[in-house]
Symmetry: C2
Subunit: 348 residues, 2 copies
DNA sequence: CTGAAAGCGCTTACAG
DNA sequence: CTGAAAGCGCTTACAG
């Protein structure tokens, strides 16, 4: 007893052997009792639990996992733009990160999070180093070196899932982008806009953008309208892309009375440029973005947007990385919904 | 050789024994060679590395850490408001999270991240369960149950550091709030505003708010002006607090021509209320917030704010949790700077 | 239902 | 400079 006290004061680790001695049982019984093994009497289990509490004992997960050959941990990699600071990361990915961590926790997994930017630092070998049972990769598509690295890594039989991957050969989970494009465009048409232009990118690595464009096209065509695409210059940062696109349309005297924009960051830039040009939103120009980022709440008018169900997104990513068999397309498509705020005029 | 290939195809773990056999050395030599022990000849090391690469071997960190008695991992806990979804979390904490992960990585530590909301789920016993060498706790001060839990846990000799803790008896790292209040208020005074009111909270659990208020008071007094405080109703969410505060001032016919607000979320609500009331920012009312959140970039006008140096904040939190000795106050105060955007009129 | 023993994959005294 | 062996703290066949 005295010895135990001394050790705990020195912060020496309390082990299952200490608990065994205290409870007067064997070490294996301690292990089984605490693991809720049905082989143990409730009477014994109660005694063990009491001793464990008395000594402040907790199972060492490292040791347990080493023995069990699993980690109970999922790696979450957030790919950043080169040179990007933590507070410049697209908030969409932060929301996704939060959802993934919550979903993993609900499935009894810890999350090992890393923000990866440059090639010296890329790391995805979590399984062979015994750090995680799989990896979920999210983040910008604008970091080619990172995607090359993870794409190549993913070739082996690794448990890895990607959000919005630019490559279809990777295991992906994505928003239902087509549906989102459809909903947004129908909304604009329903509100009476007719010269609706899509601001986005079709040949960019961002595959999701093409899907959004296709949804837009379908909605335009079903209404007998002609789809018009303005490709954004994806070298610039997102907001500048929005600024430039609007500036360009005005310079070339393009007629438009509404914009469906491939993502909120671009839409925010577009909205600013519209304001600077004295074009009022939503009266002279309707505007719908994509992603539902929080900053869209604070613009004037607030930005109407398409938002994926973040909770489902997190759950699907976790399910995908944990599943042995591949997932069906339906299990990898995150449903979206229209976030009605203020950048579309009332119908009629 | 054949045997090795078969095993790797089955994804059986490649161990240091396999590498030893392949390289014709003992297992301990493999371990030393890969750990860059100076006891090993470069010739031997090269041979071991070659074999390791050939077999796709990586050190199992779980096993290594178990043996070494350390984890090389830091836990990062983000406390959320009860019922708050991942995309409602104050973006300030996401930025801080990113900075902490980056700083930890720079110090050779992994980060185990968890978002904690409700009491069934609170967990901070990372050290005794062998999951981390310490914990960094950030997030809302509005979750009393969470802070009670961590405060009590922190009583024992645990490595735990808190961002902006409501309690001074906990190990904390904070923005230089006093300095921030000083800078912001001087800026407003310099721009010619005179009826400057502070929107904040002095008795709230958010200790940092009091410090900001004190900086404000000092700047007012040095200019011969009378500080005026409007306490925000901290039951409501932040933006509503801002709305309500402005509404109340107008209702009571309070005179004001500028507002220094204790945080950006509140300031964003205040800005909206001002717009709805037809009070133009920055002409009729100057406005400065605190935190530098990204959404402030997109309002019109963009919100001038005080921003902590996020990189330093992450580094200080990591240094604090890793340091054996306590840190001096200077080592726990994150420098701040004025983010000049558009909600203060030009001086003169 | 419980215990003695092996072993997960490493690092690190201890020898030589 | 390298090797044989112990041990980090568990879980889990194997016995009884």
């Amino acid at each position: 007893m005295t010895e135990v006290k001394t050790r705990s004061r020195l912060r020496a680790r309390v082990t299952s052997f200490d608990v065994a001695e205290h409870a007067g049982v064997s070490q294996s019984t301690v292990s089984r009792a605490l693991a809720n093994s049905s082989a143990i009497t409730e009477v014994t289990r109660a005694r063990v639990i009491k001793s464990a509490e008395a000594l402040g004992y907790m199972v060492d997960t490292r040791a347990a996992q080493l023995r069990q050959g699993r980690t109970g941990t999922l790696a979450v990699v957030v790919i950043c733009r080169p040179g990007e600071a933590a507070n410049d990361i697209n908030p969409f990915y932060f929301s996704l990160l939060g959802s993934v961590c919550a979903a993993a926790s609900a499935q009894g997994h810890q999350t090992l999070v890393s923000f990866q930017t440059s090639s010296e630092q890329f790391f995805g070998k979590y399984e062979e180093s015994g750090q995680a049972d799989g990896a979920i990769v999210i983040g910008t598509t604008a970091n080619d070196a990172a995607w090359d690295y993870f794409r190549q890594l993913s070739g082996d039989e690794r448990s890895m899932v990607f959000w919005g991957s630019p490559f279809d050969d990777l295991e992906w989970v994505r928003s239902d982008n087509y549906e989102g494009g459809l909903i947004a465009t129908r909304k604009l048409i329903g509100a009476g806009y007719r010269n609706i232009v899509h601001l986005g990118a079709v040949d960019s690595p961002q595959r999701q953008f093409r899907e959004r464009y296709e949804g837009y096209c379908a909605a335009m065509e079903e209404a007998g309208l002609v789809p018009r695409l303005l490709q954004v210059d994806y070298e610039a940062d997102r907001e500048t892309q929005g600024h430039n696109a609007v500036a360009q349309m005005i310079a070339t005297e393009e007629r438009f009375d509404a914009l469906f924009v491939a993502c909120d960051s671009i839409a925010l830039g577009a909205m600013e440029e519209l304001r600077e040009r004295g074009i009022s939103v939503p009266d002279q120009c309707g505007l719908i973005g994509f992603d539902g980022i929080r900053a869209g709440t604070h613009t004037s008018p607030p930005l109407t947007s398409i938002e994926p169900d973040f909770e489902v997104a997190g759950a699907m990513l976790v399910a995908a990385v944990l599943s042995e068999a591949g997932l069906s397309a339906a299990e990898r498509r995150v449903p979206v919904r229209l976030l009605e705020r203020g950048s579309v005029r009332r119908s009629g």
